[in-house]
Subunit: 139 residues, 2 copies
Amino acid sequence: MWAHTGGMARISEIGDYIRDQRDQAQMSLRQLAQAAGVSNPYLSQVERGLRRPSAEILGRIAQGLRISAETLYVQAGILDDRAGDEAVTTAIAADASLTERQRATLLQIYAAFQAENAARTTPDPATRDEAGADGTTDM
Amino acid sequence: MWAHTGGMARISEIGDYIRDQRDQAQMSLRQLAQAAGVSNPYLSQVERGLRRPSAEILGRIAQGLRISAETLYVQAGILDDRAGDEAVTTAIAADASLTERQRATLLQIYAAFQAENAARTTPDPATRDEAGADGTTDM
DNA sequence: CGCGCGCGTTTGCAACTGCAAGCATGTGGG
DNA sequence: CCCACATGCTTGCAGTTGCAAACGCGCGCG
């Protein structure tokens, strides 16, 4: 429902996003808390949106989840959103250092990822992806 | 490259940096404070390294100084310095609609493209990499 | 059953953030 | 001279952050 223009994914709260990532990584709250060097009660409160974590804590959580800190900051509204998925396509399109084939490859892979994610949220369990990441094609 | 791991201790550094930028912009402390929506006493303390501002305050100060928030975060040691130019990597990193695996894949492919292009323009035989983008996209 | 272990959550508290109000100093002007 | 105004700094204080300890719950094992 949310792979849309403008607002894009926007799992409204940062806590939901963290819990989402934690679930996907199949970690318990306490595991992540320890990996991140954060107390588990506090992590619990953060995930449920009762507390707004500082940037440092956010960074540590990102580290514990092995995801990029930027992602979390953007989710937290601390860093600019950059208009979401459009930013990626436009950035790729505008990157003069890429050849046309590389550009097309990246855009294709990105589109495939988006399609897969959209399929994941719909009742269609056909999660067939494996984008054409053959890379090194060009050149 | 991502979230820093070691100790950060540049609290005073960021204060100096802010004061530097403020001086260069020829703003008084109070002016910047108002432009940033921060109280002037607090800004004073931040500049002198007595206080560790939260990410939100940092962002507002960056806005008041009309510099990118990222540079301030990097200065603060909250974000790690990103190697090169990078509109694409930033956009990818900030796109919350991607899973971390997908994000890593895209970044990897992009990096591989950059490396290959660099190798093409610079006759440096040492960087005979070329292996980076060949899939392993598992996910 | 009783005990241990894991899960997520609640509670009480030290430490901190960030602000409003006030202080100290410097400058120009009527 | 005295007032107005600017600069940056110090001081109490409400509101939060983040933690250690403790709680309730479910599950497997002796």
